[in-house]
Amino acid sequence: MDKDYILEIEGLSKGFPGVQALDKVSFNVERGTIHALVGENGAGKSTLIKILAGIYRADAGNVTLNGQAIAFKTPHEARVAGISVVHQEMKLAEPLSVAENLFVGGILTGRGNLVDWKEMRRRAKEIIDNLGVEIDVRAPVDSLTVAKKQIVEVCRAVNMNCKLMIMDEPSATLTDRELEILFGIAKKLRGEGITIIYISHRLDEIFNLADNVTVLRDGLMVNTVPVRDVTKRRLISMMVGRELGLEYPKEAAQIGDVLLEVKNLVRNGVLHDISFNVRQGEVLGISGLVGSGRTELARAILGIDKIDSGEVYVRGKKKLYRSFREAIKDGLGLIPEDRKTQGLVQIFSVKRNICMVSLDKIIKKGIVSARLEQQYGEEYAKKLRIMTPSMNTQVQYLSGGNQQKVVVTKWMMQNSEILFMDEPTRGIDVGAKTEIYHLINDLVKQGKTVIMISSEMPEILGMCDRIVILHEGKMVGELMRDEATQERIMEKCV
């Protein structure tokens, strides 16, 4: 009663065919605080946000904003009321420039009602500069990396002048430095009296940033508590309903022969003279800032991009893959960084997506076996605990983290010998992360090799045997597991 709440949620429920995404959820958000929302994949976080943003309508319950009952019918209404959302799945107008994206819905006009490009670019630049990042405001959004797109999203929300900003996993793709920037902004906005609802699976962030935290589990609200009153362990057990084991359950595997060797690899303007190797049973981490060439390195090795000079050896034999397909056939694989477009066919069912890479395994005598497809789908979905109403559900209806699990599953089924993972745990909850780490352990124990690209430093430190550090397309260092620390990596990155 004595507290000043900007948002009060009471008895909020929302069901989809086959799932109750939210079940009588109630909590309040204090004005001028950063309020974290956590829970496992599919717990209902994004659904709650979408109701606040006017994208979904609640089945039951009341929401009060500034003391007034609200039930937005369109995102526009929500925006007018001062609620701005950075969504988990990005919603930018890809072919348009950064500046245009910042002003979507409110293009600046000058004299004669013409678009005032100059002013628009200037203001866009101001906002972006404020965040301390380098993005050309004239560049079309689709030319940006995933991380930069995310920053544009944040900028857009800032530009909308909102009172309540909701960030749905804005950090999933950001590296530490970008995260620092984001945190800086969040705190600055809080200082200016703006309230922020912040969703993340990276619990460290919650402790770093948030004042209060609400935990959801299977659509039910577990608790809302001040962050200073909980420990990480406690928070995790509230989220998953049980105690979890080690956060990084690294198990050393038998190290064998060199499986992949890269010598003096060059891709003009992108990669400069990169050499390294990986052995059977090894997990190699590739660390570096966004734009340092991590993804590009994987692409060049896998035949997706052309190599200008240098050699790639697989199992001691020189290889030059002309297409990604060739690389896959030769036992290589890649879990791509962008699950939405690269990882999944959104309109296909869960099982169909799972079996997409390894179609061979479900084809008998030239005919696709529906039985095998169902069987494999169920088997792998169970392994990674993918939450879905059925194998026939289109993946677009799964929660973000569960979609990511489907992408990982595709490649588990393919069983590649040399598997590149580009941000494999992006948007995945703590429990599922641990499951993926166990999978990595299993892979290397079978004498396979995993090359992990990740922006999450603790994950790299926790799971890799060796770490290669890239900076602006050059290899600037290589650290063994026991000598690697966050500081030593960062030192080389800048």
Binding site: G15, P17, F324, L334, N353, L359, I363, I367, V368, K410
Partner: protein, 329 residues
């Protein structure tokens, strides 16, 4: 309370799923009732045989369009492909009559099919490998085909062909014309191939998400191209049936088939956005379209008015598709 709520909505989803998949059949039934009430001739076997006969040519070309739509593209050249290949066939057949030893009708048919396939290949190569927008590439080939058809026939109709090709359009199996059976057979085969083989799976995957298909190791260019190739083949097959059925050929053959095909496909549940819908639906979509115009003809609707209406049906179908896709977001 929430129990019944979920069950109720599950029921609704099922119903809407059902009506989506069988919309064409439902539409045909409703239309049939209306036309039966307004025209005594409508419900006769004679009339239905007619409808099926007409469907047999359009729907085979429409199947090609459906496949191209599944890959996320669009083929504007289908109709003129029908015209050109059937004109080419007619010319070759006529020279058969002059010197019977040179052109066996069956050889002619093979040449027609090869030519149609080649046109499809051109579309495919230009779109998939040279990177032209499908709209431009197929519009180009549409004009090439039409020009060639005029060129080789001097724009005059050609009639009466050897009896040996009558099978495709004029022979019967019991009460059923062979071409209708061929059409049904082709659709069953295509439905099977599209759902149960690598080829079909990959065509859907390419249309459903190009990038995701690429990152799953699917040769996106190849399957995009193959879609056009198959469509070209089917267009010329439609040309063979048409030539045989009418026993005459004119450059206007197949005119507008590409749009009829789009209407048929969309009503049958195939999406313009690619990767979604059943091929077999296109058969029902095509029957729907032919039935609609058959019924209107019996009501003596002015043919020009029918053309206008066809335009509206096309727009309505596309609008429907856009609506269906929007709802899922």
């Amino acid at each position: 309370m929430s129990e019944t709520g979920t069950r109720g909505s599950a029921f609704l989803t099922k119903m809407s799923q059902f009506s989506k998949e069988y919309m064409a059949i439902i539409a045909i039934l409703i239309m049939s009732v209306v036309f039966t009430l307004t025209s005594p001739y409508f419900l006769t076997w004679e009339n239905w045989k007619n409808i099926l006969l007409q469907t047999s040519t359009v729907s085979v070309a429409a199947m090609g369009q459906a496949i191209v739509l599944l890959t996320g593209n669009f083929d504007l050249s289908l109709g003129r492909n029908v015209a050109f290949t059937s004109c080419l066939g007619a010319i070759l057949m006529k020279s058969t009559a002059l010197s019977p030893n040179i052109w066996n009708p069956w050889v002619v048919i093979l040449i027609m099919l090869a030519m149609g396939t080649l046109i499809g290949l051109c579309n495919g190569v230009l779109t998939a490998y040279a990177g032209l927008p499908a709209f431009i590439a197929t519009l180009g080939l549409q004009n090439v085909c039409y020009g060639l058809a005029k060129l080789i026939t001097n724009a005059t109709p050609i009639a009466t062909f050897p009896n040996s090709i009558a099978f495709f359009g004029r022979r019967y199996f019991g009460p059923m014309p062979w071409c209708v059976l061929i059409m049904i057979g082709l659709y069953i085969l295509a439905q099977f191939l599209s759902t149960k083989t690598r080829l079909g799976r990959n065509i859907y995957a390419v249309g459903g998400g190009k990038e995701a298909a690429f990152f799953s190791g699917i040769n996106v260019k190849k399957y995009t191209c193959l879609g056009f190739v198959i469509a070209g083949f089917l267009a010329s097959f439609s040309g063979v049936i048409l030539m045989s059925r009418l026993n005459s050929v004119a450059i206007t053959n197949g005119q507008g088939y590409e749009f009829d095909a789009v209407i048929g496909s969309i009503i049958g549940g195939v999406s313009l956005a690619g990767g979604k819908g059943k091929i077999i639906g296109t058969l029902f979509g095509s029957i729907f379209l032919i039935t609609l115009f058959n019924g209107m003809a019996q009501l003596h609707v002015d043919p020009f008015v029918q053309d206008v209406l066809k335009g509206f049906v096309l727009l309505a179908a596309i609008g429907l598709d856009v609506f269906r896709n929007r709802k899922r977001a």
